[in-house]
């Protein structure tokens, strides 16, 4: 029996996620317990719940079915999260008992957890933006104590200003960080690829508008290897993987005080993207690989290989070439790596076409071992950490959004291309940071030979070797030609520049509404 979740107690960006056009992230550094409690009191009436976000999801679905653009709303949404100093300051020390065994939350986003660069300077003596000492947000000198996550569909800063001013006044400090994120048309990230496509489904039911419904819609996908699915390719996992006090399996009945239930640990990473370097380097690498292999490898094909999907989101495991028509939302994640998947018919009578297997899966011919989507979700493959069910257990709820202006490819000399920062405001929710985010990030993306051997995640992974330098080093990978090539001696190559650099971040705790109520000060009406 799947649990009945309290949709009025869970923050909406955890479930089902904010799908608004804009996000406005504001960070405060303040560890005065009384002031933080006053701020919580101000925030409380404005926290957007799961139920409110579900309303919006339904509107979006209806618009999608009607082939209309996503609906725009004017109501300002808000979710919050607290850093460890704030949790301690307001007397919520019991949160630390929920932390993982490596104290990821309590100890903070250190290089030992993330594999980030630690050297404070670059070889030329300039400050190293990847060093947390120089981070835009979350640096040791300005820790992130309170994170506000606003969402809207236009004029977000203006709409958030009155509440923000009141909160700043209550805290007695100005924000130490604020940044707007906006969806880029096509819901792509700055390198030009559609993002946020693959998310785990969450088991559980919720009462919404007088009706009990599943949190994740079931489309009638046949179970496979003991795994149930929402959409094709979307495994269903128990809510305890993301929420405190919720079951992690059938029959599990965790018990926590109300204020500690329905919270989630958040990972916030400000990931700066160097689009120019990405395009320049992939063009050069494509030339090198073409010369070495005799296979004409176009730069855009190499970029697709690095992602594992075409820019539209179509997966290499489903399509050899960019399909003329985009995959539907029920088809886009329907693929595995080792096994071919058969055509299936869904409950509504629609069919999802079959997907091929990789003919040489440990080398990765159809989708490289080092493709981002395979590094973070190897699906049906065995890994250095177990099998497919273990891999499902590592999955996180990703809620990122791009920041900064899109790169102007039509006019590469546009000064904004180099003068303005751009990247991804990565945000994920999970119950335990160590056993989910850290495995995907540190053990897999930053590792040449895991989950399978053959290359770093060239797109996002970091290689900061144990040599005392503390700076990013080249990332290597081995290229094998696509089918029908059967050569078993690959071509080794390296990316030299780090295209994605963490320039801020923190581990935070996103509490339930009950938590906020309990720890908010009583303000005069």
């Amino acid at each position: 029996m799947e649990p009945l979740l309290d949709g009025a107690d869970i923050q909406g960006n955890i479930l089902p996620g904010f799908n608004r056009q804009e996000r406005y992230l504001v960070g405060f550094t303040c560890n005065d317990g009384a002031r933080l409690k006053n701020a919580l009191a101000l925030v409380l009436p404005h926290v957007t719940t799961m139920l409110q976000a579900l309303d919006h999801r339904d509107e979006r679905k209806a618009a999608f079915v009607a082939a209309e653009p996503p609906p725009l709303r004017k109501d300002l949404w808000l979710n919050i999260a607290l850093g460890p100093r704030a949790v301690r300051a307001i007397g919520a020390d019991a949160v630390f008992d929920l932390d993982d065994e490596e104290f990821s939350f309590a100890g903070g986003m250190t290089p030992g957890i993330t594999g980030d660069a630690s050297a404070p300077t670059l070889p030329n003596g300039d400050p190293n933006p990847a060093s947390r000492r120089h981070w835009k947000v979350g640096s040791p000198s300005r820790p992130l104590d309170l994170l506000l996550i606003f969402a809207n569909d236009g004029a977000i800063e203006e709409r958030a200003a009155p509440l923000l001013e009141a909160i700043a006044s209550a805290l007695g400090v100005a924000p130490t960080y604020d940044e707007v994120g906006r969806l880029i048309p096509g819901e792509i990230e700055h390198f030009g690829f559609r993002d946020g496509i693959s998310q785990p489904g969450v088991r559980g039911r919720v009462m919404h508008q007088g009706t009990e419904r599943f949190v994740t819609t079931r489309y009638g996908v046949p179970s496979a290897h003991g795994v149930d699915f929402g959409k094709p390719g979307q495994p269903l996992v128990w809510p305890g993987q993301f929420l405190t006090g919720q079951p992690v399996s059938e029959g599990d009945q965790p018990s926590l005080p109300a204020e500690l239930t329905n919270g989630s640990f958040g990972v916030f990473r400000r990931l700066s993207q160097n689009v120019r370097a990405f395009y320049e380097d992939t063009e050069a690498l494509a030339g090198e690989l073409s010369a070495a292999t005799g296979i004409g490898l176009a730069p855009d094909r190499l970029r697709t290989l690095m992602v594992g999907r075409f820019p539209t989101g179509a997966a290499l495991m489903r399509h050899d070439q960019q399909p003329a028509q985009d995959d539907s939302i029920t088809a886009i994640n329907y693929f595995a790596f080792a096994d071919a998947l058969p055509e299936i018919t869904l409950t509504d009578g629609s069919t999802v076409s079959a997907a091929k297997a990789d003919p040489d899966v440990l080398r990765g011919r159809r989708c490289p071992v080092w493709a981002h989507i395979r590094k973070v979700n190897p699906r049906d493959l065995g890994t250095n950490r177990g099998g497919p069910i273990d891999t499902i257990g590592f999955q996180i709820l990703r809620r990122g959004i791009p920041f900064g202006p899109p790169y102007d490819h039509l006019n590469p000399k546009n000064p904004d291309n180099d003068n303005k920062q751009r990247g991804l405001l990565f945000l994920s929710y999970q119950r335990h940071i160590k056993t989910t985010f850290s495995i995907l990030n540190h053990d897999w993306m930053n590792n040449r030979d895991a989950p399978q051997g053959g290359g770093f995640d060239l797109l996002v992974g970091q290689n900061v070797p144990n040599n005392g330098d503390g700076r990013h080093a080249n990332k290597s990978a081995t290229f094998f030609g696509p089918p029908p090539d059967t050569s078993t001696v690959g071509v080794d190559f390296e990316s030299q520049r780090q295209w994605v650099v963490p320039t801020g971040g923190a581990f935070v705790f996103a509490p339930s509404l009950a938590f906020v109520k309990k720890f908010a000060a009583e303000l005069p009406s």
Partner: protein
Amino acid sequence: MFKYSTPAGIDDLHERPTRSDFLDDWHGSVKRDFLANIGDLPPTHQLFFTETVSPATSAEIPITWNAFPLSISRVVPNNPIQRWDAADRLGERNRSVDGTSVLKKFRFQDEYCEWFAYRQTPGGPISRIVFTAEAPEYWIMLAKHDFQAVFVLYKSLVSPEVQEHELKLTKAIRFGNSVLNVGDYDPYNVWNTEKGVMHLTHPANTLGAEINLAAVATIPIADIDNNRVTEVRRLACSSVFGDPNRSSDPSIGHGVNMTALPTTLGAAAQSITLANPVALYIDDIANGAITDENGDPLAGWFTIVRGVRGRGLMAVLEPPPGAAIGLGQIRIGNRSLTHGGQVAERIQMVLYGKTANLGHPVPPLFPRLQHCCRPNNSAQVNILNLDHEELENGCSSGNVDAFPELRPDPPGPAAEVALVAEQLVFRSSFARTRSGL
């Protein structure tokens, strides 16, 4: 002419007169192990090969796994101190050759990586942690050829207090299919168990197990509906290439199986072997895993002292010369170091395969060789250790098949019986190979 090298190409007998004979003997031993395992495979399933017969033509394929015992993590998932303590305990195994009890100690660290935390005083702070991936067969053979070299290595790598007699057996023991006699090197001596570590001790942590595993894993297995078993733990359950509860064996077996036999229709089979030098290796520790109290990575604390990065046989975690702090002040993640298991959880193990196209056709699916049972409850199967059972054995009371599609077949028609008979012959042959592990 192809010759198997010592693990990581280590040269422990450099400039010693015993070197040449030892290297020849080592090559011969590895070669014999390969040929025996190939000979045990059914004639229709000959995708495992040795480079003494045919050269491998591919680049190396790394297969990796985590060094900390997954079977212990499953039992103690939420209490790290208990988990690490459990991994540090020693077990005992009767290695008698004549029915009298000869209990020898071993570690429960069964992922081909074992470790020992040295302390200046019993229960005191850790001064050094040593990790090993070296198979006992190497040390037994090394001692057979040059015991004095082994003694010197123990004094150098384990403790200057080691006495020669402490490394020798006082009673004969069984090791694999062989007997080690009184006066021979004792692979389970006190300096390799209770007081230190030089090489692997867990009964399954042997080079023979690695070769056997890779050989058997080339066989594709059919489930009850005659579909090929491709999921990693199901494959480990339905075959006999190791323990389905470990991280290592299923990962290695699955990697070999999927490489040799693509699932794509029409794709050719590839013959596969273990790359020379054949061994199980410490790959490396995760980047930035060892930090100071501020969370900044420390360099020079974790070093490979036998072998090299990617082919490590022994690694040591200790303060480098001049370090201002000791191991008690370093952190793994954001947690102070208290156990070797903390470090093991950040160590990656690896072995390397290579392939060749030797023209073998895609072999037919083979019937299941074993099956797995689990408690009849609702816990997810990945957090359970399973009972790996013979086909003729059902599940014990209160247990059910972990994977119903892998349950034993009911008695069938003659053709099926013949197939099962072949299977039984096959199984008993490799059981002999494995019996002495």
